[in-house]
């Protein structure tokens, strides 16, 4: 440990150790763990202003997770039914022997496609943990991968179609540089609780922008904290219809000839085809503001006004939030937003190139290796960089179909029969759509391993349950915005907990895998990596980085002069020939509005008249922290119901209500409010599924109600479900 800061009561030394969070809230903050005699006695937010990296309530409550009495302390085997949560302590050796025997049996009987690694967003951002199991499975012969992730698969597809790279178009720049800021489905006051470094969604930066006179418009079905604090104008919109409003804004701009034609001519292809669609020459329907008003409920005059303002203000920044993309046809929303930005030259091609950076996201410090099962002689080497979902589905499973694939396998047209799941850093049953179907699917598997810190709803389904370290029991390096964070091991692992890396390294020899860890510890690998010639470009002073806990690096500058994007045309593709070649009417080559399933015009509304959205909750990072009493004390899980909808149902604020559809039932108190538009209810994601004996969820997990189907091009659709709410 470093940073000897001082003495506490003369006998014991308190050391301050830089830490951050690994939980994938979207931000990345800096904190200091005060460690005395091997115990963390305090966690302190980074008090400084530069760089602004102050933590939120969750990060500051981390000690309550590390030292929680309900930590999983030992390796265990299941003794009750799956889901019952009855376990018995066994030794690490017994657990690893059992896992090795089952993996060998399953591989021999069904081949490597029988394995699936459900690594997810619980604790994935560290240096190794996110890919430890994936690497092990790849070295053992492969596994069936899943694709179509929750956060922003629609955006990845849209960026690939428009700019030629999945990773393009992340981040819109510093909000403080804009005169007009349109926060579209973006709620950073809640989703970026800490003082995280992203310039376009740091709450402090938004305050500063507002105070400097930037006009801020928020488009959102809810009157969020972001709307309340920063917005000059709130535009409530029916969920799933954002694309229609964007396209109607394009109509106004075209109709009034406000587009930057010179920019379009020079840097884009396909604007004319989009224009034909917008003006109605393709389908006879001009996409006027009046057309969009009927669909979105946004008054035509509001759409017209905002379009004119966006087209004529410099600098105008449209921050396309990720929520509206988590709907059926969500990829079209991002495509439409990019097109609007291009029409008004509010983007430049150079900004859309993917610039060099140290590493991205999780687990990039050691190699996951090749996945033999993923190899497809007919597919490009990196099928992830394909616009064709059918191609991806040849060897992979889209996440919405995962439970169906588990239950039907090859007979259902999937690439393999899945027999074993290893869940690490995730709470799959809670966080993937259609929890009740997931429960059935999990019960059919041959073998389930879960690596966990707590008895989550998913952990209860493990056959072998392995105790995982928290991030404060190991060192790691994390990335957020333009910064790297060094999170130092503050304490030794508690109980019998091990990291994912250590678990896999111990299991590898039992599976006949050689050289899983290269003969090195995590600490050694971390140091090797951070001091490698490659990383020295970014981290010029390793010791200073370790001491300070945070390191600012600058992405390479945008290329000057003419830029060739990695699209077929080298330009921004408003029309994509590659997409046209797919010949899928649900995946059109230009951005189009298509009505979602389970929408307000669906006959299903007779039974289930309310649209459910499943927003983020500020006191959880997805499902992490739901078991921390400090945070639970602050705000209970409730379903948001508009006052008018509540009145017609005889529901008062705080009443217990039943939220249900054909997929499941949730029993939860109502939050009756004017802050959500009529016809829409909101149940925040991440609350732990807690079924009673009748299968009614009393924890408030929204995925009991969401539909397990991805959008045609892959977007995650947990904001596209119909429900009914009644008073109990």
């Amino acid at each position: 440990m470093t940073n000897l800061q001082g003495q506490d009561n003369a006998s014991s030394i308190v050391q301050k150790v830089p830490i951050t969070c690994p939980h994938d809230c979207g931000g990345q903050c800096l904190m200091w763990a005060h460690v005395k005699d091997g115990v963390i006695v305090r966690i302190e937010s980074e008090p400084g202003d530069e760089p602004p990296a102050r933590a939120c309530a969750r990060g500051l409550a981390s000690r309550k997770r590390v030292y929680a009495p309900d930590r999983i302390k030992y390796t265990m085997k299941r003794v009750g039914e799956r889901g019952e949560g009855k376990f018995e302590r066994i030794s690490w050796d017994e657990a690893l022997d059992k896992i090795a025997a089952e993996m060998k049996r399953i591989k021999a009987q069904y081949g490597p496609g029988a394995f699936v690694n459900l690594q997810y967003a619980g604790e994935p951002l560290g240096s190794f943990q996110g890919i430890a199991v994936g690497r092990l499975m790849n070295m053992f012969g492969g596994n069936v991968q899943h694709w179509g992730g929750a956060s922003l698969e629609g955006k990845y597809w849209a960026a690939l179609a428009t700019f030629g790279d999945r990773w393009a178009a992340l981040g819109s720049g510093d909000a403080r540089s804009a005169r007009l800021l349109i926060l579209w489905g973006r709620n950073p006051a809640i989703t970026r609780g800490g003082n995280n470094p992203e310039g376009d969604s740091n709450p402090f930066f938004l305050s500063q922008a507002k105070e400097a006179g930037t006009r801020i418009v928020c488009i959102d079905p809810r009157y969020t904290e972001t709307v309340a604090l920063y917005a000059d104008q709130w535009v409530p919109i029916i969920p799933g219809t954002d694309t229609a409003m964007l396209i109607a804004m394009a109509y106004v701009i075209i109709n009034e000839n406000l587009q930057d034609q010179k920019f379009l001519d020079e840097y884009t292809v396909g604007f004319d085809k989009f224009k034909e669609y917008v003006l109605g020459k393709e389908d006879g329907i001009p996409k006027t503001p009046a057309w969009a008003e009927v669909i979105t409920s946004v008054p035509a005059a509001t759409i017209t006004g905002l379009a004119r303002e966006y087209a004529t203000t410099k600098t105008a920044m449209l921050i396309d939030g990720w929520g509206p993309g988590r709907t059926a046809y969500g990829e079209q929303y991002f495509r439409a937003a990019y097109t609007l930005k291009a029409m008004t030259s509010n983007i430049s091609p150079s900004e859309m190139t993917v610039r060099a950076r140290p590493f991205r996201g999780a687990g990039y410090l050691f190699s996951k290796g090749k996945n033999p099962f993923d190899f497809d002689p007919q597919a490009p080497a990196d099928v992830g960089q394909s616009l064709d979902p059918a191609l991806k589905n040849r060897r992979r499973v889209v996440q919405g179909n995962l439970y169906d694939a588990m239950m039907r396998g090859k007979d259902g047209g999937y690439p393999s029969d899945i027999k074993m799941a290893w869940v690490n850093g995730g709470n799959t049953l809670n966080q993937f759509a259609n929890t009740n179907k997931g429960v059935k699917a999990f019960k059919q598997l041959d073998f389930i391993v879960v690596t966990e810190q707590f008895m989550t709803p998913t952990a209860k389904f493990a056959d072998i349950l392995l105790p995982a370290t928290t991030h404060l029991e190991r060192s790691g390096v994390y990335t957020g915005g333009g910064r790297l964070f060094y999170s130092e091991k503050a304490i030794e692992p508690l109980f019998e907990a091990k990291s994912d890396f250590q678990i896999c390294a111990a299991l590898a020899p039992r599976l006949g895998i050689e050289n899983y860890d290269g003969g090195k510890t995590e600490e050694e690998l971390l140091k090797d990596y951070l001091t490698s010639p490659d990383m020295k470009k970014w981290i010029t002073d390793y010791d200073a980085f370790k001491k300070r806990g945070v390191w600012e690096w600058s992405a390479s500058q945008p290329q000057a002069g003419k830029v060739v994007l990695p699209t077929s045309s080298g330009k921004i593709e408003i029309y994509s020939q590659k997409v046209a070649d797919l010949k899928n009417p649900e995946i059109p080559p230009i951005p189009k509005y298509m009505e979602t399933w389970e929408n307000r015009n669906d006959p299903l509304t007779k039974k289930y008249p309310l649209q459910l959205i499943t927003s983020h909750f500020r006191l959880r990072a997805h499902s992490v922290f739901d078991n921390v009493a400090w945070l639970k004390d602050l705000e209970p899980q409730r379903v948001w119901v508009n006052t008018a909808d509540a009145r017609s149902r005889g529901i008062q604020d705080g009443d217990l209500v039943r939220v249900f559809n054909d997929r499941g039932v949730v029993l939860i108190p109502a939050y009756v409010t004017e802050r959500i538009m009529p016809g829409v209810v909101n149940l925040c994601e991440g609350a732990w599924y807690n079924p009673d004996k009748d299968g009614v969820d009393r924890g408030g997990c929204p995925n009991v109600l969401t539909k397990d189907k991805n959008s045609p091009a892959g977007a995650w659709c947990t904001h596209t479900s119909l429900v009914q709410v009644v008073k109990v």
């Binding site: 709307v227 004390d633 508009n642 008018a644």
Partner: protein
């Protein structure tokens, strides 16, 4: 001198980092904290609702009603910085007292834990931090920089004289040491 807080209601997202930072610093149990968040204030109708948050700790009033009400003089206002502190050795505890301090405070700040005969507890302006010329821990934890602390006259010079905010009424009787930037409609 009178130490005071500043609260910018236009910046407060209600995130509760101030409250959790306080509980973490003082290693408190689940339940009350010295800093009290966060009242959510909701009013008016869709599509023009109003939402704001309010967070307060002990306001270290210029004329603390809690101190006047305490039967054992356990609550003392320090002359050097105007911070109101409680001497737990003198406090009778909640089982042996009618908690006059809590009743007297117009803001309900004095608090008692759940344990048997809990003594009164409240914000002491992080005196340890103050001794090192540092801000109270809640102030330096606020991601939106909505809190500040310092001598009342200096805060007033910096931020103005507004003593009310949405959800907060200034008590002429006790004279709480807080300056606001209120969130207007």
């Amino acid at each position: 001198m009178q130490m005071a807080f500043y609260f910018d209601q236009t910046r407060c997202t209600g995130c509760s980092a101030c409250l959790i930072a306080c509980k973490e610093w003082y290693d408190m149990k689940s339940g009350p904290a010295y800093r009290r968040i966060v009242v959510r204030i909701e009013k008016d109708k869709y599509p023009n609702p109003y939402l704001a948050y309010l967070t307060i700790a002990c306001l270290h009033c210029e004329r603390p009603a809690c101190a006047a009400a305490c039967p054992t003089n356990a609550i003392v206002k320090r002359e050097e910085d105007g911070v109101t502190v409680v001497n737990k050795d003198l406090c009778l505890g909640k089982d042996n007292c009618a908690t006059f301090c809590k009743e007297a405070c117009p803001y309900g700040i004095p608090d008692f834990g759940e344990e048997e005969n809990a003594k009164m507890q409240m914000c002491n302006f992080c005196l340890d931090q103050l001794a090192e010329n540092k801000n109270p821990i809640c102030v330096d934890a606020c991601p939106s920089h909505a809190l500040d602390a310092g001598p009342l006259n200096l805060l007033a010079a910096k931020y103005g004289q507004t003593r009310q905010a949405e959800g907060f009424v200034y008590s002429e009787e006790t004279m709480p040491s807080i300056i606001f930037k209120p969130k207007l409609r």
